[in-house]
Protein backbone atom coordinates (compact mmCIF):
# COMPACT_ATOMS: atom_id res chain seq x y z
CA UNK A 1 0.00 0.00 0.00
CA UNK A 2 2.79 2.39 0.95
CA UNK A 3 4.56 1.47 -2.24
CA UNK A 4 1.44 2.23 -4.25
CA UNK A 5 1.00 5.67 -2.72
CA UNK A 6 4.66 6.40 -3.31
CA UNK A 7 4.31 5.44 -6.95
CA UNK A 8 1.19 7.60 -7.30
CA UNK A 9 2.98 10.53 -5.71
CA UNK A 10 5.96 10.35 -8.05
CA UNK A 11 3.63 10.16 -11.01
CA UNK A 12 1.71 13.19 -9.82
CA UNK A 13 4.96 15.11 -9.46
CA UNK A 14 5.98 14.64 -13.06
CA UNK A 15 3.49 15.73 -15.66
CA UNK A 16 5.56 14.20 -18.45
CA UNK A 17 5.66 10.81 -16.81
CA UNK A 18 1.92 11.00 -16.14
CA UNK A 19 1.09 11.91 -19.74
CA UNK A 20 3.30 9.19 -21.14
CA UNK A 21 1.87 6.59 -18.81
CA UNK A 22 -1.71 7.58 -19.57
CA UNK A 23 -1.18 7.33 -23.34
CA UNK A 24 0.66 4.04 -22.90
CA UNK A 25 -2.07 2.72 -20.61
CA UNK A 26 -4.76 3.69 -23.14
CA UNK A 27 -2.92 1.91 -25.94
CA UNK A 28 -2.41 -1.16 -23.77
CA UNK A 29 -6.07 -1.13 -22.74
CA UNK A 30 -7.18 -0.98 -26.37
CA UNK A 31 -4.82 -3.86 -27.10
CA UNK A 32 -6.10 -5.90 -24.15
CA UNK A 33 -9.72 -5.42 -25.15
CA UNK A 34 -9.01 -5.88 -28.85
CA UNK A 35 -10.91 -9.20 -29.13
CA UNK A 36 -14.01 -7.55 -27.63
CA UNK A 37 -13.69 -4.46 -29.82
CA UNK A 38 -13.23 -6.57 -32.92
CA UNK A 39 -16.30 -8.59 -31.98
CA UNK A 40 -18.35 -5.45 -31.41
CA UNK A 41 -17.32 -4.05 -34.79
CA UNK A 42 -18.24 -7.28 -36.55
CA UNK A 43 -21.58 -7.59 -34.78
CA UNK A 44 -21.79 -11.37 -35.07
CA UNK A 45 -19.40 -11.99 -37.95
CA UNK A 46 -15.62 -11.63 -38.18
CA UNK A 47 -14.83 -8.17 -39.58
CA UNK A 48 -11.32 -9.24 -40.52
CA UNK A 49 -12.38 -12.16 -42.63
CA UNK A 50 -11.61 -11.88 -46.34
CA UNK A 51 -14.53 -10.30 -48.19
CA UNK A 52 -16.48 -9.64 -45.02
CA UNK A 53 -17.76 -6.44 -46.59
CA UNK A 54 -17.50 -4.61 -49.90
CA UNK A 55 -13.98 -3.54 -50.65
CA UNK A 56 -12.61 0.01 -50.62
CA UNK A 57 -15.48 1.59 -48.70
CA UNK A 58 -14.70 5.12 -47.54
CA UNK A 59 -14.86 5.96 -43.82
CA UNK A 60 -18.44 6.33 -42.64
CA UNK A 61 -20.78 5.39 -39.80
CA UNK A 62 -20.81 1.72 -40.92
CA UNK A 63 -17.06 1.44 -41.08
CA UNK A 64 -15.31 4.10 -39.05
CA UNK A 65 -12.10 3.79 -41.01
CA UNK A 66 -13.45 2.21 -44.16
CA UNK A 67 -12.51 -1.18 -45.59
CA UNK A 68 -9.42 -2.44 -47.39
CA UNK A 69 -8.73 -4.18 -50.67
CA UNK A 70 -10.17 -7.46 -49.37
CA UNK A 71 -13.21 -5.86 -47.80
CA UNK A 72 -11.94 -6.08 -44.24
CA UNK A 73 -12.89 -3.47 -41.65
CA UNK A 74 -9.84 -1.24 -41.19
CA UNK A 75 -10.79 -0.11 -37.68
CA UNK A 76 -10.94 -3.70 -36.45
CA UNK A 77 -7.69 -4.49 -38.23
CA UNK A 78 -5.89 -1.54 -36.68
CA UNK A 79 -7.07 -2.47 -33.18
CA UNK A 80 -5.93 -6.03 -33.62
CA UNK A 81 -2.65 -4.97 -35.20
CA UNK A 82 -1.92 -2.63 -32.30
CA UNK A 83 -2.25 -5.57 -29.93
CA UNK A 84 0.18 -7.60 -32.03
CA UNK A 85 2.67 -4.77 -32.25
CA UNK A 86 2.58 -4.11 -28.51
CA UNK A 87 2.97 -7.82 -27.87
CA UNK A 88 6.11 -8.10 -29.94
CA UNK A 89 7.44 -4.95 -28.28
CA UNK A 90 6.81 -6.36 -24.83
CA UNK A 91 8.32 -9.75 -25.61
CA UNK A 92 11.47 -8.38 -27.21
CA UNK A 93 11.71 -5.51 -24.72
CA UNK A 94 11.59 -7.76 -21.67
CA UNK A 95 14.00 -10.36 -23.06
CA UNK A 96 16.60 -7.89 -24.25
CA UNK A 97 16.37 -5.74 -21.12
CA UNK A 98 16.80 -8.69 -18.79
CA UNK A 99 19.72 -10.12 -20.77
CA UNK A 100 21.27 -6.69 -21.26
CA UNK A 101 21.03 -5.75 -17.59
CA UNK A 102 22.50 -9.03 -16.38
CA UNK A 103 25.41 -8.88 -18.83
CA UNK A 104 26.01 -5.20 -18.07
CA UNK A 105 26.09 -5.67 -14.31
CA UNK A 106 28.29 -8.76 -14.39
CA UNK A 107 30.73 -7.14 -16.81
CA UNK A 108 30.74 -3.70 -15.21
CA UNK A 109 30.86 -4.75 -11.59
CA UNK A 110 33.21 -7.74 -11.80
CA UNK A 111 35.55 -6.17 -14.34
CA UNK A 112 38.78 -7.91 -15.34
CA UNK A 113 38.72 -10.80 -17.81
CA UNK A 114 34.97 -11.35 -17.36
CA UNK A 115 34.38 -7.82 -18.56
CA UNK A 116 36.78 -8.33 -21.47
CA UNK A 117 35.02 -11.47 -22.66
CA UNK A 118 31.50 -10.08 -22.26
CA UNK A 119 32.34 -6.72 -23.81
CA UNK A 120 34.00 -8.32 -26.81
CA UNK A 121 30.97 -10.54 -27.32
CA UNK A 122 28.61 -7.58 -26.98
CA UNK A 123 30.73 -5.59 -29.42
CA UNK A 124 30.64 -8.40 -31.98
CA UNK A 125 26.84 -8.58 -31.83
CA UNK A 126 26.59 -4.81 -32.07
CA UNK A 127 28.34 -4.58 -35.41
CA UNK A 128 26.44 -7.43 -37.05
CA UNK A 129 23.96 -5.92 -39.53
CA UNK A 130 20.75 -7.01 -37.88
CA UNK A 131 18.18 -6.77 -40.58
CA UNK A 132 19.69 -9.05 -43.24
CA UNK A 133 20.25 -11.66 -40.55
CA UNK A 134 16.66 -11.34 -39.39
CA UNK A 135 15.55 -11.88 -42.96
CA UNK A 136 17.74 -14.96 -43.25
CA UNK A 137 16.56 -16.32 -39.92
CA UNK A 138 12.87 -15.86 -40.59
CA UNK A 139 13.20 -17.26 -44.11
CA UNK A 140 14.99 -20.30 -42.68
CA UNK A 141 12.47 -20.89 -39.90
CA UNK A 142 9.19 -21.44 -41.68
CA UNK A 143 5.95 -20.55 -39.92
CA UNK A 144 7.58 -18.68 -37.09
CA UNK A 145 5.37 -17.65 -34.21
CA UNK A 146 5.18 -14.16 -32.81
CA UNK A 147 7.21 -15.22 -29.77
CA UNK A 148 9.97 -16.68 -31.94
CA UNK A 149 10.24 -13.47 -33.91
CA UNK A 150 10.44 -11.60 -30.59
CA UNK A 151 13.31 -13.80 -29.47
CA UNK A 152 15.11 -13.35 -32.78
CA UNK A 153 14.80 -9.60 -32.58
CA UNK A 154 15.99 -9.49 -28.96
CA UNK A 155 19.11 -11.49 -29.80
CA UNK A 156 20.29 -8.41 -31.65
CA UNK A 157 18.83 -5.67 -29.50
CA UNK A 158 20.17 -6.53 -26.03
CA UNK A 159 23.75 -5.42 -26.79
CA UNK A 160 22.61 -1.80 -27.05
CA UNK A 161 21.12 -1.86 -23.56
CA UNK A 162 24.11 -3.80 -22.22
CA UNK A 163 26.63 -1.34 -23.61
CA UNK A 164 25.07 1.81 -22.15
CA UNK A 165 24.27 0.25 -18.79
CA UNK A 166 27.74 -1.28 -18.46
CA UNK A 167 29.42 2.10 -18.85
CA UNK A 168 27.13 3.50 -16.17
CA UNK A 169 27.93 0.62 -13.83
CA UNK A 170 31.63 1.24 -14.41
CA UNK A 171 31.25 4.83 -13.31
CA UNK A 172 28.89 4.11 -10.41
CA UNK A 173 30.82 1.26 -8.83
CA UNK A 174 33.72 3.53 -7.89
CA UNK A 175 31.43 5.99 -6.10
CA UNK A 176 32.22 6.50 -2.42
CA UNK A 177 28.75 5.29 -1.43
CA UNK A 178 29.64 1.90 -2.84
CA UNK A 179 32.75 1.90 -0.64
CA UNK A 180 30.61 2.90 2.31
CA UNK A 181 28.25 0.00 1.61
CA UNK A 182 31.24 -2.32 1.47
CA UNK A 183 32.57 -1.22 4.85
CA UNK A 184 29.00 -1.66 6.12
CA UNK A 185 29.29 -5.36 5.28
CA UNK A 186 27.05 -5.25 2.19
CA UNK A 187 27.61 -8.11 -0.24
CA UNK A 188 28.16 -7.65 -3.97
CA UNK A 189 24.65 -8.67 -4.97
CA UNK A 190 23.19 -6.35 -2.34
CA UNK A 191 25.31 -3.45 -3.60
CA UNK A 192 24.23 -4.12 -7.17
CA UNK A 193 20.54 -4.31 -6.31
CA UNK A 194 20.20 -1.60 -3.67
CA UNK A 195 22.95 0.88 -4.50
CA UNK A 196 23.47 0.66 -8.25
CA UNK A 197 20.20 -0.57 -9.76
CA UNK A 198 17.94 2.26 -8.52
CA UNK A 199 20.28 4.85 -9.98
CA UNK A 200 20.20 3.03 -13.29
CA UNK A 201 16.42 2.72 -13.59
CA UNK A 202 16.19 5.53 -16.13
CA UNK A 203 18.83 3.83 -18.26
CA UNK A 204 17.09 0.50 -17.93
CA UNK A 205 13.83 2.19 -18.86
CA UNK A 206 15.45 3.72 -21.91
CA UNK A 207 16.92 0.33 -22.79
CA UNK A 208 13.51 -1.29 -22.53
CA UNK A 209 11.77 1.40 -24.55
CA UNK A 210 14.32 1.41 -27.33
CA UNK A 211 14.37 -2.39 -27.56
CA UNK A 212 10.57 -2.47 -27.61
CA UNK A 213 10.40 0.20 -30.29
CA UNK A 214 13.19 -1.50 -32.23
CA UNK A 215 11.25 -4.76 -32.14
CA UNK A 216 8.01 -3.12 -33.26
CA UNK A 217 9.72 -1.45 -36.17
CA UNK A 218 11.75 -4.58 -36.86
CA UNK A 219 8.54 -6.52 -37.28
CA UNK A 220 7.17 -3.77 -39.52
CA UNK A 221 10.24 -4.25 -41.69
CA UNK A 222 9.84 -8.03 -41.81
CA UNK A 223 6.16 -7.76 -42.69
CA UNK A 224 6.92 -5.49 -45.59
CA UNK A 225 8.96 -8.19 -47.27
CA UNK A 226 6.49 -10.87 -46.33
CA UNK A 227 8.62 -12.66 -43.76
CA UNK A 228 6.58 -11.91 -40.67
CA UNK A 229 5.07 -14.54 -38.46
CA UNK A 230 2.24 -16.38 -40.12
CA UNK A 231 -1.41 -15.46 -39.66
CA UNK A 232 -1.01 -12.21 -37.72
CA UNK A 233 -1.58 -8.66 -38.82
CA UNK A 234 0.57 -5.97 -37.23
CA UNK A 235 0.64 -2.24 -37.88
CA UNK A 236 3.45 -2.70 -40.38
CA UNK A 237 1.39 -5.02 -42.52
CA UNK A 238 -1.44 -2.52 -42.77
CA UNK A 239 0.97 0.22 -43.82
CA UNK A 240 2.51 -2.16 -46.32
CA UNK A 241 -0.90 -2.98 -47.77
CA UNK A 242 -1.75 0.70 -47.96
CA UNK A 243 1.44 1.40 -49.89
CA UNK A 244 1.17 -1.66 -52.10
CA UNK A 245 -2.41 -1.03 -53.19
CA UNK A 246 -2.21 2.73 -53.51
CA UNK A 247 -4.86 3.11 -50.83
CA UNK A 248 -4.27 6.85 -50.58
CA UNK A 249 -5.44 7.42 -54.15
CA UNK A 250 -8.58 5.39 -53.49
CA UNK A 251 -9.66 7.60 -50.60
CA UNK A 252 -8.75 4.96 -48.00
CA UNK A 253 -6.35 7.30 -46.24
CA UNK A 254 -7.01 5.82 -42.75
CA UNK A 255 -5.21 2.63 -43.75
CA UNK A 256 -2.08 4.66 -44.12
CA UNK A 257 -2.48 7.45 -41.57
CA UNK A 258 -3.93 5.63 -38.57
CA UNK A 259 -1.20 2.97 -38.11
CA UNK A 260 1.50 5.61 -38.52
CA UNK A 261 -0.25 7.88 -36.04
CA UNK A 262 -0.47 5.02 -33.55
CA UNK A 263 3.22 4.20 -33.96
CA UNK A 264 4.10 7.85 -33.46
CA UNK A 265 1.90 8.05 -30.39
CA UNK A 266 3.56 4.94 -28.96
CA UNK A 267 6.99 6.40 -29.63
CA UNK A 268 6.07 9.70 -27.98
CA UNK A 269 4.52 7.99 -24.95
CA UNK A 270 7.52 5.74 -24.35
CA UNK A 271 9.87 8.69 -24.64
CA UNK A 272 7.84 10.78 -22.22
CA UNK A 273 7.95 7.92 -19.74
CA UNK A 274 11.74 7.80 -20.15
CA UNK A 275 12.26 11.49 -19.59
CA UNK A 276 9.79 11.51 -16.72
CA UNK A 277 11.58 8.59 -15.05
CA UNK A 278 14.87 10.41 -15.35
CA UNK A 279 13.32 13.40 -13.57
CA UNK A 280 11.86 11.31 -10.80
CA UNK A 281 14.92 9.18 -10.18
CA UNK A 282 17.43 11.97 -10.34
CA UNK A 283 16.44 13.97 -7.27
CA UNK A 284 18.90 16.71 -8.17
CA UNK A 285 16.52 17.68 -10.95
CA UNK A 286 13.80 18.03 -8.36
CA UNK A 287 13.06 21.15 -6.35
CA UNK A 288 15.27 21.85 -3.34
CA UNK A 289 12.39 21.82 -0.89
CA UNK A 290 11.55 18.22 -1.73
CA UNK A 291 8.02 17.02 -1.62
Amino acid sequence: MRLLTAVLRTIRNSRRLATGLVILALLVLVALFSPLIVKAVGGGQDPIELAAYDKWQVPGPQHLLGTDQFGRDVFAMVVKALAVSLQIGAIAGVISTVVGVIVAFVAGYKGGWIDNVLSTFTGILLVIPTFPLLIALSAYAKNVSLFQVGVMISIFSWPFAAKTIRSQVLSLRTRPYVDLARVSKARDIEIIVTELLPNLLPFIGVGFASSALGAIFGLVGLEIIGLGPGGVIDLGQIIFNAIGTGALTLGAWPMFVVPIALLTLLFAALNMVNIGLEEVYNPRLRGVAGE
Binding site: P176, V183, P283, A289
Partner: protein, 295 residues
Protein backbone atom coordinates in the same frame (compact mmCIF):
# COMPACT_ATOMS: atom_id res chain seq x y z
CA UNK B 1 37.93 -5.63 22.43
CA UNK B 2 41.02 -3.48 22.24
CA UNK B 3 43.32 -4.23 19.40
CA UNK B 4 45.86 -2.86 17.03
CA UNK B 5 46.05 -2.13 13.36
CA UNK B 6 49.35 -2.60 11.62
CA UNK B 7 50.67 -2.06 8.13
CA UNK B 8 53.67 -4.20 7.39
CA UNK B 9 55.67 -3.39 4.28
CA UNK B 10 52.60 -2.44 2.30
CA UNK B 11 53.18 -1.82 -1.36
CA UNK B 12 50.51 -0.89 -3.88
CA UNK B 13 51.15 -0.77 -7.59
CA UNK B 14 48.71 0.17 -10.33
CA UNK B 15 48.90 -0.58 -13.99
CA UNK B 16 49.43 2.57 -15.95
CA UNK B 17 50.00 3.32 -19.57
CA UNK B 18 52.74 5.61 -20.73
CA UNK B 19 55.02 4.74 -17.84
CA UNK B 20 58.38 3.14 -18.48
CA UNK B 21 57.78 -0.11 -16.59
CA UNK B 22 53.99 -0.24 -17.06
CA UNK B 23 52.92 0.52 -13.53
CA UNK B 24 53.05 3.24 -10.92
CA UNK B 25 53.88 2.59 -7.30
CA UNK B 26 51.37 4.50 -5.21
CA UNK B 27 52.46 3.10 -1.86
CA UNK B 28 56.00 1.90 -1.37
CA UNK B 29 56.98 -0.23 1.62
CA UNK B 30 54.89 1.56 4.23
CA UNK B 31 54.83 0.22 7.77
CA UNK B 32 53.19 1.70 10.81
CA UNK B 33 51.13 0.65 13.75
CA UNK B 34 48.00 2.19 15.25
CA UNK B 35 47.12 1.31 18.84
CA UNK B 36 43.59 1.36 20.14
CA UNK B 37 44.70 2.10 23.67
CA UNK B 38 45.70 4.64 24.63
CA UNK B 39 43.55 6.36 21.98
CA UNK B 40 45.65 8.54 19.75
CA UNK B 41 45.39 10.74 16.71
CA UNK B 42 47.89 9.97 14.02
CA UNK B 43 48.04 12.28 11.04
CA UNK B 44 49.29 11.26 7.65
CA UNK B 45 50.39 14.28 5.66
CA UNK B 46 51.34 14.50 2.03
CA UNK B 47 50.55 16.22 -1.23
CA UNK B 48 48.02 14.95 -3.75
CA UNK B 49 49.20 11.77 -5.38
CA UNK B 50 51.53 10.87 -2.54
CA UNK B 51 49.60 7.67 -1.84
CA UNK B 52 47.79 8.65 1.33
CA UNK B 53 44.29 7.82 0.09
CA UNK B 54 45.51 4.50 -1.24
CA UNK B 55 46.79 3.70 2.25
CA UNK B 56 43.31 4.49 3.59
CA UNK B 57 41.77 2.10 1.06
CA UNK B 58 44.29 -0.59 2.02
CA UNK B 59 43.55 -0.18 5.71
CA UNK B 60 39.79 -0.31 5.08
CA UNK B 61 40.14 -3.49 3.07
CA UNK B 62 38.78 -1.87 -0.09
CA UNK B 63 42.01 -2.48 -1.98
CA UNK B 64 44.26 -5.48 -1.57
CA UNK B 65 47.89 -4.38 -1.45
CA UNK B 66 50.25 -5.74 -4.10
CA UNK B 67 52.73 -6.76 -1.42
CA UNK B 68 52.94 -6.64 2.34
CA UNK B 69 49.98 -6.95 4.62
CA UNK B 70 47.48 -5.06 6.71
CA UNK B 71 47.09 -6.73 10.08
CA UNK B 72 44.17 -6.37 12.45
CA UNK B 73 44.86 -7.88 15.83
CA UNK B 74 47.90 -9.55 14.29
CA UNK B 75 45.98 -11.20 11.42
CA UNK B 76 45.89 -10.32 7.74
CA UNK B 77 42.58 -8.55 7.09
CA UNK B 78 42.11 -10.40 3.80
CA UNK B 79 42.37 -13.78 5.54
CA UNK B 80 40.00 -13.27 8.45
CA UNK B 81 37.42 -15.80 9.57
CA UNK B 82 33.81 -14.73 9.47
CA UNK B 83 33.59 -13.61 13.08
CA UNK B 84 37.00 -11.92 12.91
CA UNK B 85 35.89 -10.12 9.76
CA UNK B 86 32.74 -8.90 11.51
CA UNK B 87 34.81 -7.59 14.40
CA UNK B 88 37.24 -5.88 12.00
CA UNK B 89 34.46 -4.21 10.02
CA UNK B 90 32.83 -2.98 13.19
CA UNK B 91 36.12 -1.77 14.60
CA UNK B 92 37.61 0.06 11.61
CA UNK B 93 35.35 2.67 10.07
CA UNK B 94 35.92 5.46 7.59
CA UNK B 95 35.05 9.09 7.12
CA UNK B 96 35.54 9.86 3.46
CA UNK B 97 36.62 13.00 1.71
CA UNK B 98 33.65 13.94 -0.41
CA UNK B 99 30.50 14.64 1.62
CA UNK B 100 28.47 14.81 -1.60
CA UNK B 101 29.39 11.51 -3.19
CA UNK B 102 29.21 9.49 0.00
CA UNK B 103 25.41 9.45 -0.10
CA UNK B 104 23.49 7.52 -2.68
CA UNK B 105 21.36 10.28 -4.24
CA UNK B 106 18.48 7.85 -4.58
CA UNK B 107 17.85 7.54 -0.85
CA UNK B 108 17.19 9.78 2.12
CA UNK B 109 20.16 10.34 4.41
CA UNK B 110 18.57 8.29 7.21
CA UNK B 111 19.33 5.16 5.27
CA UNK B 112 23.08 5.40 5.94
CA UNK B 113 22.38 5.38 9.68
CA UNK B 114 19.68 2.71 9.54
CA UNK B 115 21.96 0.53 7.47
CA UNK B 116 24.61 0.74 10.18
CA UNK B 117 22.00 -0.13 12.83
CA UNK B 118 20.81 -3.17 10.90
CA UNK B 119 24.10 -4.48 9.53
CA UNK B 120 25.85 -4.29 12.87
CA UNK B 121 22.79 -5.22 14.93
CA UNK B 122 22.99 -2.15 17.13
CA UNK B 123 19.33 -2.23 18.12
CA UNK B 124 16.66 -4.90 18.11
CA UNK B 125 13.58 -2.70 17.73
CA UNK B 126 12.79 0.24 15.51
CA UNK B 127 12.25 2.52 18.50
CA UNK B 128 15.62 1.61 20.00
CA UNK B 129 17.26 2.18 16.63
CA UNK B 130 15.66 5.58 16.23
CA UNK B 131 16.70 6.54 19.73
CA UNK B 132 20.28 5.55 18.95
CA UNK B 133 20.27 7.54 15.73
CA UNK B 134 18.90 10.63 17.44
CA UNK B 135 21.46 10.34 20.23
CA UNK B 136 24.30 10.10 17.76
CA UNK B 137 23.05 13.02 15.71
CA UNK B 138 22.91 15.12 18.84
CA UNK B 139 26.44 14.00 19.73
CA UNK B 140 27.69 15.59 16.50
CA UNK B 141 25.55 18.65 17.19
CA UNK B 142 22.89 18.05 14.56
CA UNK B 143 19.18 18.45 15.20
CA UNK B 144 17.58 15.11 14.22
CA UNK B 145 14.43 16.82 12.93
CA UNK B 146 16.53 18.97 10.59
CA UNK B 147 18.27 16.11 8.86
CA UNK B 148 16.15 12.99 9.13
CA UNK B 149 13.87 12.41 6.17
CA UNK B 150 15.94 14.67 3.94
CA UNK B 151 17.70 13.88 0.70
CA UNK B 152 21.46 14.42 0.56
CA UNK B 153 21.21 17.37 -1.82
CA UNK B 154 19.02 19.19 0.67
CA UNK B 155 21.78 19.31 3.29
CA UNK B 156 24.98 21.32 3.43
CA UNK B 157 28.41 19.74 3.13
CA UNK B 158 29.09 20.24 6.83
CA UNK B 159 25.81 18.59 7.79
CA UNK B 160 26.47 15.65 5.52
CA UNK B 161 29.97 15.14 6.85
CA UNK B 162 28.66 15.25 10.40
CA UNK B 163 26.09 12.59 9.56
CA UNK B 164 29.06 10.41 8.68
CA UNK B 165 30.50 11.24 12.08
CA UNK B 166 27.17 10.34 13.67
CA UNK B 167 27.45 6.98 11.95
CA UNK B 168 30.92 6.53 13.46
CA UNK B 169 29.55 7.60 16.82
CA UNK B 170 26.89 4.89 16.63
CA UNK B 171 29.35 2.19 15.71
CA UNK B 172 32.02 3.22 18.24
CA UNK B 173 34.89 1.69 16.29
CA UNK B 174 38.35 1.61 17.83
CA UNK B 175 39.77 3.09 14.65
CA UNK B 176 38.51 5.91 12.46
CA UNK B 177 40.14 6.18 9.08
CA UNK B 178 39.47 9.78 8.09
CA UNK B 179 40.55 10.41 4.51
CA UNK B 180 40.74 14.17 4.01
CA UNK B 181 37.44 14.65 5.85
CA UNK B 182 37.72 18.42 6.09
CA UNK B 183 39.22 19.32 2.74
CA UNK B 184 35.80 20.18 1.32
CA UNK B 185 34.49 22.09 4.34
CA UNK B 186 34.94 25.75 5.08
CA UNK B 187 37.14 26.95 7.93
CA UNK B 188 34.47 27.29 10.60
CA UNK B 189 32.82 23.95 9.91
CA UNK B 190 36.29 22.44 9.76
CA UNK B 191 37.12 23.43 13.33
CA UNK B 192 33.76 22.12 14.45
CA UNK B 193 34.47 18.79 12.76
CA UNK B 194 37.97 18.52 14.26
CA UNK B 195 36.59 19.24 17.73
CA UNK B 196 34.15 16.37 17.36
CA UNK B 197 37.02 14.06 16.38
CA UNK B 198 38.94 15.16 19.46
CA UNK B 199 35.80 14.52 21.57
CA UNK B 200 35.57 11.03 20.18
CA UNK B 201 39.16 10.38 21.15
CA UNK B 202 38.69 11.65 24.70
CA UNK B 203 35.20 10.34 25.47
CA UNK B 204 34.92 7.17 23.47
CA UNK B 205 38.57 6.20 23.16
CA UNK B 206 38.69 6.16 19.38
CA UNK B 207 42.00 6.20 17.56
CA UNK B 208 42.00 8.27 14.40
CA UNK B 209 44.18 7.98 11.34
CA UNK B 210 43.77 11.48 9.99
CA UNK B 211 44.82 11.83 6.37
CA UNK B 212 45.30 15.34 5.08
CA UNK B 213 47.41 17.66 2.98
CA UNK B 214 46.81 20.53 5.35
CA UNK B 215 49.42 21.02 8.07
CA UNK B 216 47.39 23.55 10.03
CA UNK B 217 44.70 20.97 10.82
CA UNK B 218 47.43 18.55 11.84
CA UNK B 219 48.80 21.15 14.19
CA UNK B 220 45.35 21.70 15.65
CA UNK B 221 44.76 18.01 16.27
CA UNK B 222 48.17 17.32 17.77
CA UNK B 223 49.32 13.78 18.44
CA UNK B 224 51.64 11.98 16.09
CA UNK B 225 52.33 12.83 12.48
CA UNK B 226 53.75 10.93 9.55
CA UNK B 227 54.89 12.72 6.42
CA UNK B 228 54.48 10.81 3.18
CA UNK B 229 55.84 11.64 -0.24
CA UNK B 230 55.92 9.50 -3.35
CA UNK B 231 54.40 6.59 -1.45
CA UNK B 232 57.04 6.53 1.26
CA UNK B 233 56.89 7.76 4.82
CA UNK B 234 59.86 10.07 5.15
CA UNK B 235 59.40 11.47 8.63
CA UNK B 236 57.40 10.61 11.72
CA UNK B 237 57.13 11.80 15.28
CA UNK B 238 55.11 13.98 17.64
CA UNK B 239 53.50 16.93 15.87
CA UNK B 240 55.42 19.54 17.86
CA UNK B 241 58.79 17.98 17.09
CA UNK B 242 58.15 17.48 13.39
CA UNK B 243 56.72 20.96 13.00
CA UNK B 244 59.46 22.77 14.82
CA UNK B 245 62.48 20.66 13.93
CA UNK B 246 61.76 19.03 10.61
CA UNK B 247 64.61 16.84 9.45
CA UNK B 248 63.51 15.80 5.98
CA UNK B 249 63.72 18.44 3.24
CA UNK B 250 60.20 17.57 2.05
CA UNK B 251 58.75 18.34 5.48
CA UNK B 252 60.59 21.67 5.49
CA UNK B 253 59.14 22.48 2.12
CA UNK B 254 55.64 21.60 3.32
CA UNK B 255 56.03 23.84 6.33
CA UNK B 256 57.25 26.68 4.16
CA UNK B 257 54.15 26.32 2.01
CA UNK B 258 51.68 27.24 4.77
CA UNK B 259 50.30 30.70 4.10
CA UNK B 260 50.33 32.90 7.16
CA UNK B 261 47.28 35.09 7.79
CA UNK B 262 49.49 38.16 8.18
CA UNK B 263 49.55 40.75 5.39
CA UNK B 264 53.02 41.91 6.42
CA UNK B 265 54.46 38.47 6.09
CA UNK B 266 54.35 37.59 2.44
CA UNK B 267 55.82 34.54 0.86
CA UNK B 268 59.18 36.02 0.02
CA UNK B 269 60.80 32.93 -1.34
CA UNK B 270 59.14 31.45 -4.34
CA UNK B 271 58.82 27.69 -4.35
CA UNK B 272 59.56 26.47 -7.80
CA UNK B 273 58.09 23.34 -9.19
CA UNK B 274 61.54 22.14 -10.20
CA UNK B 275 62.62 22.57 -6.62
CA UNK B 276 59.97 20.02 -5.71
CA UNK B 277 61.21 17.73 -8.44
CA UNK B 278 64.78 17.99 -7.18
CA UNK B 279 63.60 17.18 -3.68
CA UNK B 280 61.85 14.11 -4.97
CA UNK B 281 65.04 12.94 -6.56
CA UNK B 282 66.83 13.17 -3.25
CA UNK B 283 64.45 10.73 -1.66
CA UNK B 284 65.65 7.14 -1.58
CA UNK B 285 62.68 5.98 -3.64
CA UNK B 286 64.07 7.47 -6.76
CA UNK B 287 67.68 6.39 -6.63
CA UNK B 288 67.00 3.87 -9.35
CA UNK B 289 65.28 6.33 -11.64
CA UNK B 290 67.15 8.43 -14.20
CA UNK B 291 68.33 11.86 -13.16
CA UNK B 292 65.92 14.71 -13.65
CA UNK B 293 67.14 17.15 -16.27
CA UNK B 294 69.10 19.97 -14.66
CA UNK B 295 67.68 23.29 -15.68
Amino acid sequence: MKSELELRGVQQRFHARGVADGYVTAVDDVSFKLLASPPQIVSLVGQSGSGKSTIARNVLGLQKPTAGSVLYGGKDIFKLSRSEYDAYRRDVQPVFQDPYAIFNPFYRVDRVLWKAVKKFKLASTREAGLKLIEESLQAVRLEPENVLGRYPHQLSGGQRQRIMLARVHMLRPSFIIADEPVSMLDAQVRKHFLDILLDFQREHGMTTLFITHDLSTVYYLGGEVMVITKGQIVERGPVATVMHEPTHPYTKLLLDSIPSPDPDQRWTTRIQVDELERLDDNTPADTTKPEAPVL
